[in-house]
């Protein structure tokens, strides 16, 4: 508790300064993983959030937005604790939360106990959050982990000619969802996923996991993030690993690609899929990258925004545009605001986003390949852009429902 509050005070001080005018305020609570394995992800998420405030401003008509930030550590109980604190102590009216998959499921369930408030998902991507028993006041403007893998299985099969792959992933809902998306598509093409290894979030010693990687496969898919991914790569290098790699959305991301040391070079040439691609030439994306770069000195940010920065930017954007559409009117249990959010279509940096009937994003996905820019910095280069990806991944909803919920063993490797 104490640990969290230090970072919290420092961060909230940043936001509270300069807003001392006696003016009607709308209080918004934000959570990010500023502790534990996903610290770096949380920090960049907050950078994306700040970038959005720089670009869009904090004024809603004659009201002003005020933000309170709370820290979590990617566990569901830490997220619920932070959200409860924001609501009960800080009296926030709207929440921008949370960052990580398991947190998302917990916060969605918690949202049902506060139907009068509005929850905008910040970045979490577990399928279950909006697919199973969604909360009417929980809105998600980013795609889920499975949507973020669309295109990867096909590209690996058709272009890279991979036929047999194995996966290593962190043992929790978001990575289940990512592997779900990959396996559905890759096995649907006729590929085989021979082995799925799951490691606890926060694993430090990957040596035995690395030793257990099968060597009769064409590629190994890595669904790791934050400190876990860096630890894995470091120990993979020490063990002299040489396999072809494929990456999940938080594995092939600036949070890992710009980590210190040279272990990350194992990722050059790795194919991946995500809700963004660092080198996309779209003017909206380039404008966002510029805004991000201008907002922070080079040693306090990544060379290019991470997926988390992009998601926090998108969710903050939805929050502000939604509030402006109703001119900050939060009366009658925020019903007008919620209606506006459900109808809202945002022009996010990573493509147009609209919501389906579960208030889940339909958006654009990117297949990428990691390249070296010649100066030692790694970026994800666009290989393919796939617009209009929905939560059922283009499957008929009835067929999709039969596949089951993402887990360690679901889906089976077959054509559905």
């Amino acid at each position: 508790m104490l640990k969290g509050s230090v970072g919290l005070i420092a961060l909230s001080a940043l936001f509270l300064s300069g807003a001392a005018m006696a003016q009607e305020k709308i209080k918004v609570g934000v959570t990010a993983t500023l502790e534990g394995t996903y610290t770096v992800l949380g920090e960049d998420g907050i950078r994306g959030h700040q970038t959005a405030l720089n670009v869009l401003g904090k004024k809603i008509g004659d009201k002003e937005l005020e933000f309170v930030i709370a820290s979590t550590d990617a566990t569901p109980d830490s997220a619920v604790r932070a959200v409860r604190k924001l609501i009960e102590q800080d009296k926030v009216q709207i929440l921008l939360s949370p960052l990580s998959g398991d947190e998302g499921i917990a916060v969605k369930n918690f949202a049902k106990t506060h139907p009068e408030l509005t929850f905008i998902n910040a970045a979490s991507g577990a399928q279950e959050t909006t697919y199973v028993d969604p909360a009417p006041n929980f809105f998600r403007y980013n795609m889920d982990g499975a949507q973020w893998q669309v295109g990867l299985g096909k590209y690996a099969y058709d272009e890279k000619k991979y036929r047999k792959i194995a996966t290593v992933g962190e043992d929790y809902s978001f990575i289940y969802t990512q592997v779900f998306g990959l396996v559905l598509e890759f096995c649907g093409m006729g590929g085989q996923v021979t082995n799925r290894q799951w490691v606890p979030l926060g694993t430090k010693d990957f040596a035995s996991v690395i030793a257990a990687l099968p060597d009769d496969v064409d590629a190994i898919y890595l669904g790791l993030g934050g400190a876990d991914a860096v630890n894995f790569l470091n120990q993979y290098q020490q063990a002299g690993g040489k396999a072809h790699l494929m990456g999940g959305s938080i594995m092939i991301d600036q949070t890992i690609l710009s980590s210190k040391g040279n272990a990350k070079n194992a990722l050059i040439g790795t194919i991946a899929a995500s809700g963004q691609a660092d080198t996309w030439e779209d003017p909206g994306w380039q404008k966002f990258v510029k805004a991000y770069q201008d907002a922070f000195p080079p040693n306090k940010r990544f060379p290019s925004p991470s997926l988390l920065a992009t998601n926090y930017y998108g969710s903050t954007m939805a929050l502000i545009l939604g509030l402006r559409a109703v001119n900050g009117d939060l009366s009658n249990n925020q019903s007008k605001f919620k209606e506006a959010l459900a109808k809202l279509e945002i022009d996010a940096p990573n493509g147009k986003i609209k919501l389906d009937s579960n208030r889940q994003a339909i958006g654009t996905n990117f297949v990428t390949e990691v390249v070296d820019d010649g100066k030692g910095a790694l970026f994800s280069k666009v290989v393919k852009v796939i617009p209009n990806v929905n939560q059922t991944l283009g499957y008929d909803p009835a067929v999709f429902a039969k596949i089951g919920l993402p887990s360690r063993t679901v889906p089976e490797c077959k054509k559905y």
Binding site: K3, V199, D205, A227, Q238
Partner: protein
């Protein structure tokens, strides 16, 4: 050893058979039937080696912990903080000077200094009050954790492995025979072997220092009965300070080791405190050979568990602890 065999012939037989099976598993080329049943030999050998090297790291942390407890009856729950502090120092030194070896030396000196300060300023004032000391160390560990979070942030740090240690080497252990009849040797990360060797050297040096030197004799006498030792005219406070400094310094070195082959971040202090608690409970509070055995058992259990029963890997270490507490509550190698 012979006494143990005479008193427990059945247990001795079981231990010898288990050892023989283990040696056979390590050195023999596995028949195909066995490979099908429990997976490839490479995986098994790697898990065993990883368990042993991880045990080396646990031993570094736990030996200081157990030494301090043995002599001063002080359960220093801030030991994990000393580990993390040493790691951060090591990172700062290796990042600024580029020297890995130097980072060990400075981390040892600085954490030892913190240990001295702790002993002189805090623990000397409440000597003999075990519970009070324990509570104070819990408080200190929280304060240290916050101070380090303030200074270093929530980010994770990794100490760069020197270039001459990067990459694997071939060990003369055959993992499989190719169809052409050519043997495949076990490839293993060099850095882990070096770190393991270093912890063995430190362990042996500590054993020698305790059993073959005058100061070691004094420390052992202090473990047995410190009041009588003080009455004989030994400057016991000085011995306490030295032992505390050594124990803390070892935790600092362990921090650099941990930062090199794993990583450093807030929360690691608690993880290593817990690990060393489990290690000394299994091995026996206050016993250096016990810490070595406990560290080996816990390291092997974690790594073999993560390969063969990944879902329940976390439980295995605690099951071992429960088992030991039930059967031999004083620890495996504790003295009566």
């Amino acid at each position: 050893m012979t006494r143990f065999v005479e008193r427990h012939p059945v247990w001795a037989l079981i231990a010898i058979i288990a050892l023989a099976i283990l040696l056979w598993l390590i050195f023999a080329v596995w028949p195909p039937g066995l490979e099908e049943a429990i997976g490839r030999k490479r995986v098994f050998l790697n898990a065993v080696f990883n368990g042993i090297t991880l045990g080396g790291l646990y031993f570094l942390v736990a030996s200081g912990f157990t030494l301090i407890f043995g002599l001063m009856r002080n359960v220093n729950l801030a030991h994990g903080s000393l580990y993390l502090f040493g790691g951060y120092i090591g990172y700062a030194i290796s990042a600024s000077t580029g020297s890995w070896i130097l980072s060990f030396i400075i981390a040892f000196i600085l954490t030892a200094l913190v240990g001295v300060l702790l002993q002189v300023i805090v623990f000397r004032r409440m000597e003999g009050q075990d519970l009070r000391q324990t509570m104070v160390t819990i408080g200190l560990s929280i304060v240290f954790a916050d101070l380090m979070l303030w200074a270093c942030g929530g980010d994770f740090y990794q100490i760069q492995t020197p270039s001459w240690l990067i990459g694997p080497i071939d060990l003369p252990l055959i993992t499989a025979i190719k169809s052409s009849g050519e043997p495949v040797y076990l490839r293993y990360p060099l850095v882990r072997l070096v770190i393991f060797l270093a912890s063995v050297v430190i362990g042996v040096a500590m054993w020698l220092a305790l059993n073959r030197t005058r100061i070691g004799m004094i420390v052992r006498a202090g473990v047995d009965d410190r009041d009588i030792l003080a009455a004989t005219g030994v400057r016991i406070q000085l011995v306490f300070v030295l032992v505390f400094a050594l124990g803390a310094g070892l935790a600092g070195i362990a921090g650099v080791v941990g930062g090199t082959f794993q990583s450093l971040s807030p929360g690691e202090d608690i993880r290593f405190l817990l690990a060393s608690l489990v290690v000394v409970i299994v091995g026996g509070m206050g016993s250096i050979p016990g810490a070595a055995l406990g560290a080996l058992i816990i390291g092997l259990a974690e790594q073999l568990g993560s390969v063969y029963i990944p879902t329940y890997a976390i439980v295995v270490t605690f099951l071992i602890m429960v088992l030991v507490l039930a059967v031999r509550p004083q620890g495996l190698l504790a003295r009566r």
